[in-house]
């Protein structure tokens, strides 16, 4: 039975699961775990990825009877993964568990050099990748859960407003307004140190 379902199309496996064969769901997990983890690892801290990915599959199972066969299971699952990450951050903000990181002098210098119009091109330096990652975490930590998700999806993943709205279950005008506001906040975060100096 397991071998049969391994090669079966998603929709057949989903029908098996909804008709009572719970074990068939494991085939879907094996098939899409890498995809779900690649989404989850980008949005939540590394040490929380296992837990959040677990929640994604549990939610997918719970909502399987409502899966509309007209869309692909992979994109349906992606939406659940993104919304689970969003809920993770909302919950963190609710219980105020966001670590308040600070930029070190080295980070600030990197940022200032990056934004300085007179500076040499620092972006060729691949050795500064870890600093970019830390600055990214700092900047995202200053944003609300909604803004964080929008910045990730629109500016870092390059999704359209429509695609981001579909993943988060938000309307397109809402996504447009939020992305514009989030970009302004991000700009302020990157330039606030320099404004203070000026």
């Amino acid at each position: 039975m397991q071998n049969q379902t391994d090669a079966a199309p998603d929709i057949d496996i989903i029908r098996h699961v909804t008709s009572g064969d719970v074990n068939a769901f494991e085939t879907l997990i094996k098939r899409y775990q890498s995809h779900v983890f690649s989404i989850v690892r980008r949005h939540v801290p590394r040490d929380m990825a296992d837990e959040v990915a677990h929640d994604v599959f549990v939610r997918a199972y719970q909502g399987l009877s409502g899966f509309a066969e007209k869309s692909a299971f992979k994109s349906w699952l992606s939406g659940i993964a993104v919304r689970t990450c969003y809920d993770f951050w909302r919950n963190k903000y609710k219980i105020q568990e966001i670590p308040v990181s600070r930029l070190s002098d080295a980070h600030r210098e990197w940022l200032e050099n990056s934004l300085s119009n007179d500076a040499a091109d620092v972006f060729d330096d691949n050795g500064r990748h870890s600093e970019a990652l830390e600055i990214l975490e700092y900047a995202l930590g200053q944003l609300s859960a909604e803004d964080r998700m929008i910045v990730n999806l629109i500016y870092f993943e390059g999704l359209s407003h429509k695609e981001a709205g579909a993943l988060l279950g938000w309307s397109i005008p809402n996504v447009k307004i939020r992305s514009w506001r989030a970009k302004k906040k991000l700009y302020k975060i990157f330039t606030e140190g320099k404004e203070r100096e000026a």
């Binding site: 699961v17 775990q33 690649s38 989404i39 590394r46 719970q62 990056s114 934004l115 972006f123 990214l136």
Partner: protein, 110 residues
């Protein structure tokens, strides 16, 4: 002296691109999760039961809520009926005492 007043649009775009690169690198780790993780997920799912069991529970919940107004109406009607019976009984006892006070000894231990 560096011009810190207003970063050019080009610099902001380059910074965003650099941060986007860092962001994408977080998801680049394609190591599969350990077998134990998958077993834990399946355990959670098995605990939730099959869809048939789930549907039965949902149907039961649905019926409970559908019948709740009927149960409430029945409860009100029964309360009114009990109150009416109670009043009638009290009236009958009172009239018995008034009409024949010597015989109407409600408490007679012997």
């Amino acid at each position: 002296m560096k011009n810190f007043n207003k970063p050019s649009r080009q610099r902001m775009d380059q910074l965003t691109e650099k941060l986007a690169e860092a962001y994408r690198s977080k998801g680049a780790d394609d190591r599969p999760p350990p077998e134990k993780w998958r077993q834990n997920v399946m355990r959670s799912i098995r605990q939730m039961g099959t869809f048939e069991e789930k549907n039965n529970r949902e149907r039961f919940g649905y019926l409970t809520w559908r019948l709740a107004p009927v149960a409430a109406v029945l409860l009100i009607l029964m309360s009114l009926w009990i109150k009416q019976v109670d009043d009638t009984l009290e009236f009958q006892i009172a009239s018995l005492i008034v009409s024949d006070p010597a015989q109407a000894d409600v408490y007679d231990p012997f």
